[in-house]
Protein backbone atom coordinates (compact mmCIF):
# COMPACT_ATOMS: atom_id res chain seq x y z
CA UNK A 1 0.00 0.00 0.00
CA UNK A 2 1.25 3.48 -0.85
CA UNK A 3 0.80 6.13 1.76
CA UNK A 4 0.12 9.21 -0.35
CA UNK A 5 -2.98 11.33 -0.79
CA UNK A 6 -4.04 11.83 -4.38
CA UNK A 7 -6.50 14.27 -5.89
CA UNK A 8 -8.03 13.12 -9.21
CA UNK A 9 -9.41 16.07 -11.20
CA UNK A 10 -11.68 15.35 -14.18
CA UNK A 11 -15.10 16.61 -15.26
CA UNK A 12 -16.10 13.09 -16.37
CA UNK A 13 -17.52 11.02 -13.49
CA UNK A 14 -16.70 7.88 -15.48
CA UNK A 15 -13.07 8.85 -15.92
CA UNK A 16 -12.70 9.71 -12.24
CA UNK A 17 -13.99 6.28 -11.27
CA UNK A 18 -11.70 4.58 -13.77
CA UNK A 19 -8.67 6.46 -12.46
CA UNK A 20 -9.61 5.62 -8.86
CA UNK A 21 -10.18 1.96 -9.72
CA UNK A 22 -6.82 1.82 -11.50
CA UNK A 23 -5.01 3.52 -8.64
CA UNK A 24 -6.55 1.19 -6.06
CA UNK A 25 -5.38 -1.75 -8.09
CA UNK A 26 -1.88 -0.26 -7.95
CA UNK A 27 -2.05 0.07 -4.18
CA UNK A 28 -3.08 3.73 -3.80
CA UNK A 29 -6.12 3.94 -1.56
CA UNK A 30 -6.30 7.52 -0.37
CA UNK A 31 -7.85 9.22 -3.37
CA UNK A 32 -10.24 12.15 -3.53
CA UNK A 33 -12.03 13.62 -6.55
CA UNK A 34 -12.65 17.05 -8.01
CA UNK A 35 -14.74 18.00 -11.06
CA UNK A 36 -12.51 20.76 -12.44
CA UNK A 37 -9.68 23.12 -11.53
CA UNK A 38 -11.87 25.43 -9.48
CA UNK A 39 -13.32 22.55 -7.45
CA UNK A 40 -9.80 21.14 -6.98
CA UNK A 41 -8.46 24.42 -5.61
CA UNK A 42 -11.38 24.60 -3.18
CA UNK A 43 -10.65 21.06 -1.96
CA UNK A 44 -6.94 21.84 -1.67
CA UNK A 45 -7.76 24.68 0.72
CA UNK A 46 -9.35 22.15 3.05
CA UNK A 47 -6.95 19.24 2.72
CA UNK A 48 -3.33 18.56 1.83
CA UNK A 49 -2.53 16.41 -1.18
CA UNK A 50 0.72 14.71 -2.15
CA UNK A 51 -0.12 14.16 -5.79
CA UNK A 52 -2.45 15.68 -8.40
CA UNK A 53 -3.81 13.90 -11.46
CA UNK A 54 -5.62 16.32 -13.73
CA UNK A 55 -7.48 16.37 -17.02
CA UNK A 56 -7.15 19.33 -19.40
CA UNK A 57 -10.57 20.05 -20.94
CA UNK A 58 -12.82 20.92 -18.00
CA UNK A 59 -15.46 23.62 -17.38
CA UNK A 60 -15.03 26.49 -14.90
CA UNK A 61 -11.23 26.12 -14.86
CA UNK A 62 -9.38 23.93 -17.35
CA UNK A 63 -6.39 21.80 -16.46
CA UNK A 64 -3.74 24.08 -17.94
CA UNK A 65 -5.02 27.09 -16.02
CA UNK A 66 -5.20 24.93 -12.90
CA UNK A 67 -1.55 23.91 -13.29
CA UNK A 68 -0.46 27.52 -13.90
CA UNK A 69 -2.36 28.56 -10.78
CA UNK A 70 -0.72 25.88 -8.67
CA UNK A 71 2.79 26.64 -9.91
CA UNK A 72 2.27 30.34 -9.25
CA UNK A 73 1.54 29.50 -5.62
CA UNK A 74 4.58 29.05 -3.37
CA UNK A 75 2.98 26.19 -1.47
CA UNK A 76 2.40 24.13 -4.64
CA UNK A 77 5.53 24.91 -6.62
CA UNK A 78 6.89 21.38 -6.26
CA UNK A 79 3.63 19.45 -5.86
CA UNK A 80 3.72 16.46 -8.24
CA UNK A 81 1.24 16.90 -11.10
CA UNK A 82 0.40 14.35 -13.76
CA UNK A 83 -1.79 15.44 -16.65
CA UNK A 84 -4.09 12.74 -18.10
CA UNK A 85 -5.95 14.01 -21.16
CA UNK A 86 -7.13 13.22 -24.68
CA UNK A 87 -5.01 16.07 -26.03
CA UNK A 88 -2.17 14.47 -27.96
CA UNK A 89 -0.98 17.31 -30.19
CA UNK A 90 2.70 18.09 -29.55
CA UNK A 91 2.08 21.82 -29.03
CA UNK A 92 -0.36 21.04 -26.23
CA UNK A 93 2.11 18.70 -24.56
CA UNK A 94 4.82 21.35 -24.73
CA UNK A 95 2.40 23.91 -23.24
CA UNK A 96 1.70 21.54 -20.36
CA UNK A 97 5.40 20.93 -19.85
CA UNK A 98 6.07 24.67 -19.75
CA UNK A 99 3.16 25.15 -17.34
CA UNK A 100 4.92 22.80 -14.96
CA UNK A 101 3.34 19.34 -15.14
CA UNK A 102 5.73 16.59 -14.11
CA UNK A 103 4.47 14.19 -16.73
CA UNK A 104 1.70 13.63 -19.25
CA UNK A 105 -0.44 10.68 -20.36
CA UNK A 106 -2.82 10.59 -23.33
CA UNK A 107 -6.20 8.88 -22.94
CA UNK A 108 -7.05 6.09 -23.32
CA UNK A 109 -4.25 5.02 -21.02
CA UNK A 110 -3.15 1.62 -19.82
CA UNK A 111 -3.01 0.92 -16.08
CA UNK A 112 0.71 0.17 -16.35
CA UNK A 113 1.39 3.58 -17.91
CA UNK A 114 -0.49 5.37 -15.14
CA UNK A 115 1.32 3.38 -12.45
CA UNK A 116 4.73 3.90 -14.05
CA UNK A 117 4.30 7.65 -14.45
CA UNK A 118 3.23 8.06 -10.83
CA UNK A 119 6.19 6.02 -9.64
CA UNK A 120 8.59 7.95 -11.88
CA UNK A 121 7.35 11.29 -10.60
CA UNK A 122 7.52 10.20 -6.97
CA UNK A 123 11.03 8.85 -7.48
CA UNK A 124 12.30 12.14 -8.97
Amino acid sequence: MHDIKILAVDDSPTMRRIIINTLRRAGYNDIKEATDGKDALAKMKIDNYDFIITDWNMPEMDGLTFVHTLRATEEYKTLPILMVTTRSVKDDIVQALKAGVNNYIVKPFTPDTLKQKIEQILAD
Binding site: D10, S12, P59, S88, V94, P108, P111
Partner: protein
Protein backbone atom coordinates in the same frame (compact mmCIF):
# COMPACT_ATOMS: atom_id res chain seq x y z
CA UNK B 1 -36.73 59.44 -82.91
CA UNK B 2 -34.35 61.86 -81.27
CA UNK B 3 -31.18 60.76 -79.41
CA UNK B 4 -32.52 61.81 -76.05
CA UNK B 5 -35.71 59.88 -76.66
CA UNK B 6 -33.66 56.76 -77.56
CA UNK B 7 -31.56 57.19 -74.46
CA UNK B 8 -34.66 57.56 -72.33
CA UNK B 9 -36.09 54.36 -73.76
CA UNK B 10 -32.82 52.53 -73.15
CA UNK B 11 -32.71 53.72 -69.56
CA UNK B 12 -36.34 52.73 -69.03
CA UNK B 13 -35.63 49.27 -70.44
CA UNK B 14 -32.57 48.87 -68.24
CA UNK B 15 -34.49 49.98 -65.17
CA UNK B 16 -37.29 47.59 -66.08
CA UNK B 17 -34.82 44.69 -66.49
CA UNK B 18 -33.15 45.65 -63.22
CA UNK B 19 -36.50 45.70 -61.42
CA UNK B 20 -37.30 42.30 -62.92
CA UNK B 21 -33.96 40.90 -61.73
CA UNK B 22 -34.48 42.30 -58.26
CA UNK B 23 -37.95 40.78 -58.11
CA UNK B 24 -36.49 37.42 -59.17
CA UNK B 25 -33.82 37.62 -56.49
CA UNK B 26 -36.39 38.60 -53.85
CA UNK B 27 -38.54 35.70 -54.97
CA UNK B 28 -35.57 33.34 -54.69
CA UNK B 29 -34.77 34.73 -51.26
CA UNK B 30 -38.32 34.01 -50.19
CA UNK B 31 -38.07 30.51 -51.63
CA UNK B 32 -34.96 29.66 -49.64
CA UNK B 33 -36.04 31.46 -46.51
CA UNK B 34 -38.47 28.74 -45.50
CA UNK B 35 -36.05 25.80 -45.84
CA UNK B 36 -33.37 27.84 -44.06
CA UNK B 37 -35.74 28.57 -41.20
CA UNK B 38 -36.77 24.89 -41.06
CA UNK B 39 -33.12 23.80 -41.02
CA UNK B 40 -32.34 26.28 -38.29
CA UNK B 41 -35.26 24.99 -36.22
CA UNK B 42 -34.10 21.36 -36.54
CA UNK B 43 -30.60 21.99 -35.22
CA UNK B 44 -31.62 22.27 -31.54
CA UNK B 45 -33.39 18.90 -31.88
CA UNK B 46 -30.20 17.36 -33.25
CA UNK B 47 -28.04 18.79 -30.48
CA UNK B 48 -30.56 17.63 -27.87
CA UNK B 49 -30.34 14.12 -29.29
CA UNK B 50 -26.55 14.18 -29.06
CA UNK B 51 -26.75 15.44 -25.47
CA UNK B 52 -29.24 12.68 -24.70
CA UNK B 53 -26.90 10.05 -26.10
CA UNK B 54 -24.14 11.40 -23.88
CA UNK B 55 -26.33 11.38 -20.78
CA UNK B 56 -27.55 7.85 -21.40
CA UNK B 57 -24.16 6.36 -22.21
CA UNK B 58 -22.77 8.05 -19.10
CA UNK B 59 -25.56 6.56 -16.98
CA UNK B 60 -25.06 3.10 -18.51
CA UNK B 61 -21.31 3.30 -17.93
CA UNK B 62 -21.86 4.26 -14.30
CA UNK B 63 -24.14 1.22 -13.86
CA UNK B 64 -21.49 -1.01 -15.41
CA UNK B 65 -18.86 0.40 -13.08
CA UNK B 66 -21.17 -0.28 -10.12
CA UNK B 67 -21.46 -3.94 -11.13
CA UNK B 68 -17.77 -4.28 -11.88
CA UNK B 69 -16.85 -2.88 -8.48
CA UNK B 70 -19.24 -5.32 -6.81
CA UNK B 71 -17.67 -8.22 -8.69
CA UNK B 72 -14.20 -7.00 -7.73
CA UNK B 73 -15.20 -6.80 -4.06
CA UNK B 74 -16.59 -10.36 -4.14
CA UNK B 75 -13.54 -11.79 -5.90
CA UNK B 76 -11.20 -10.02 -3.50
CA UNK B 77 -13.18 -11.44 -0.57
CA UNK B 78 -13.01 -14.91 -2.16
CA UNK B 79 -9.23 -14.67 -2.62
CA UNK B 80 -8.84 -13.37 0.90
CA UNK B 81 -10.97 -16.17 2.37
CA UNK B 82 -9.22 -18.90 0.42
CA UNK B 83 -5.79 -17.47 1.24
CA UNK B 84 -6.68 -17.66 4.94
CA UNK B 85 -7.96 -21.22 4.53
CA UNK B 86 -4.91 -22.59 2.73
CA UNK B 87 -2.40 -22.39 5.61
CA UNK B 88 -4.85 -24.33 7.80
CA UNK B 89 -4.43 -27.44 5.67
CA UNK B 90 -0.66 -27.32 5.38
CA UNK B 91 1.18 -30.39 6.61
CA UNK B 92 -1.76 -32.70 6.29
CA UNK B 93 -2.56 -35.07 3.50
CA UNK B 94 -4.69 -32.48 1.80
CA UNK B 95 -2.80 -31.99 -1.45
CA UNK B 96 -6.01 -32.31 -3.40
CA UNK B 97 -7.68 -29.56 -1.38
CA UNK B 98 -4.61 -27.32 -1.51
CA UNK B 99 -4.56 -27.72 -5.29
CA UNK B 100 -8.27 -26.92 -5.41
CA UNK B 101 -7.78 -23.80 -3.32
CA UNK B 102 -4.90 -22.71 -5.55
CA UNK B 103 -7.06 -23.20 -8.63
CA UNK B 104 -9.95 -21.23 -7.09
CA UNK B 105 -7.59 -18.39 -6.18
CA UNK B 106 -6.26 -18.47 -9.74
CA UNK B 107 -9.81 -18.30 -11.17
CA UNK B 108 -10.69 -15.43 -8.91
CA UNK B 109 -7.54 -13.57 -9.97
CA UNK B 110 -8.41 -14.15 -13.64
CA UNK B 111 -11.89 -12.77 -12.99
CA UNK B 112 -10.36 -9.75 -11.32
CA UNK B 113 -8.00 -9.21 -14.26
CA UNK B 114 -10.98 -9.36 -16.61
CA UNK B 115 -12.83 -6.75 -14.57
CA UNK B 116 -9.80 -4.48 -14.76
CA UNK B 117 -9.81 -4.87 -18.55
CA UNK B 118 -13.50 -3.97 -18.59
CA UNK B 119 -12.82 -0.86 -16.53
CA UNK B 120 -9.99 0.21 -18.82
CA UNK B 121 -12.21 -0.16 -21.89
CA UNK B 122 -14.91 2.04 -20.38
CA UNK B 123 -12.61 4.99 -21.10
CA UNK B 124 -14.38 5.04 -24.48
CA UNK B 125 -17.30 6.87 -22.86
CA UNK B 126 -15.25 9.97 -22.00
CA UNK B 127 -13.74 10.12 -25.48
CA UNK B 128 -16.99 9.57 -27.42
CA UNK B 129 -18.73 12.13 -25.19
CA UNK B 130 -16.14 14.70 -26.26
CA UNK B 131 -16.61 13.75 -29.90
CA UNK B 132 -20.37 14.22 -29.58
CA UNK B 133 -19.94 17.52 -27.80
CA UNK B 134 -17.79 18.62 -30.72
CA UNK B 135 -20.49 17.54 -33.19
CA UNK B 136 -23.14 19.40 -31.18
CA UNK B 137 -20.97 22.51 -31.09
CA UNK B 138 -20.58 22.39 -34.88
CA UNK B 139 -24.35 22.09 -35.29
CA UNK B 140 -24.91 25.07 -32.99
CA UNK B 141 -22.41 27.01 -35.08
CA UNK B 142 -24.41 26.18 -38.21
CA UNK B 143 -27.60 27.21 -36.42
CA UNK B 144 -26.09 30.58 -35.51
CA UNK B 145 -24.94 31.21 -39.07
CA UNK B 146 -28.37 30.30 -40.46
CA UNK B 147 -30.04 32.60 -37.95
CA UNK B 148 -27.77 35.47 -38.98
CA UNK B 149 -28.51 34.87 -42.67
CA UNK B 150 -32.25 34.87 -41.94
CA UNK B 151 -31.92 38.05 -39.90
CA UNK B 152 -30.29 39.84 -42.79
CA UNK B 153 -32.80 38.42 -45.29
CA UNK B 154 -35.64 39.68 -43.16
CA UNK B 155 -34.16 43.15 -43.27
CA UNK B 156 -32.88 43.36 -39.69
CA UNK B 157 -29.39 44.32 -38.65
CA UNK B 158 -27.21 41.32 -38.05
CA UNK B 159 -26.04 41.64 -34.44
CA UNK B 160 -23.07 39.48 -35.29
CA UNK B 161 -21.65 37.06 -32.83
CA UNK B 162 -23.17 38.94 -29.88
CA UNK B 163 -26.43 37.10 -30.36
CA UNK B 164 -24.88 33.73 -31.12
CA UNK B 165 -26.04 30.96 -28.86
CA UNK B 166 -23.70 28.24 -27.73
CA UNK B 167 -24.27 25.96 -24.81
CA UNK B 168 -21.09 25.80 -22.81
CA UNK B 169 -19.38 22.72 -24.16
CA UNK B 170 -15.99 21.39 -23.15
CA UNK B 171 -14.19 19.04 -25.50
CA UNK B 172 -10.98 18.26 -27.24
CA UNK B 173 -11.65 18.61 -31.00
CA UNK B 174 -9.00 15.95 -31.66
CA UNK B 175 -10.22 13.42 -29.07
CA UNK B 176 -9.85 9.97 -30.60
CA UNK B 177 -10.15 6.48 -29.21
CA UNK B 178 -7.54 4.97 -31.48
CA UNK B 179 -5.25 7.56 -33.05
CA UNK B 180 -2.90 9.61 -30.92
CA UNK B 181 -1.04 12.45 -32.56
CA UNK B 182 1.97 11.96 -30.32
CA UNK B 183 3.04 8.55 -29.07
CA UNK B 184 3.67 8.05 -25.35
CA UNK B 185 7.33 7.36 -26.09
CA UNK B 186 7.68 10.79 -27.73
CA UNK B 187 5.93 12.38 -24.78
CA UNK B 188 8.34 10.63 -22.44
CA UNK B 189 11.25 12.02 -24.45
CA UNK B 190 9.89 15.55 -24.07
CA UNK B 191 9.81 15.16 -20.31
CA UNK B 192 13.04 13.22 -19.97
CA UNK B 193 15.17 13.95 -23.00
CA UNK B 194 17.56 11.09 -23.70
CA UNK B 195 21.17 11.98 -23.14
CA UNK B 196 22.60 12.28 -26.62
CA UNK B 197 26.18 12.91 -25.56
Amino acid sequence: MSDSSNLQNQIQNEVFELAKSINNVVGQFRDIQRPLAESQAKVPKATRQLDKINEQTEAATQRMLDMIEQIQAREEATIDGLSHLRPQIEGKDMTHFRDLIDRLIEHANHNLDDTYTLVDNLQFQDITAQQMNHAAWLLEDIENKLRRILTVMQGYDDQGEDNDRHRERVFDPNADLVTKRTAQEDIDNLFSPKDES
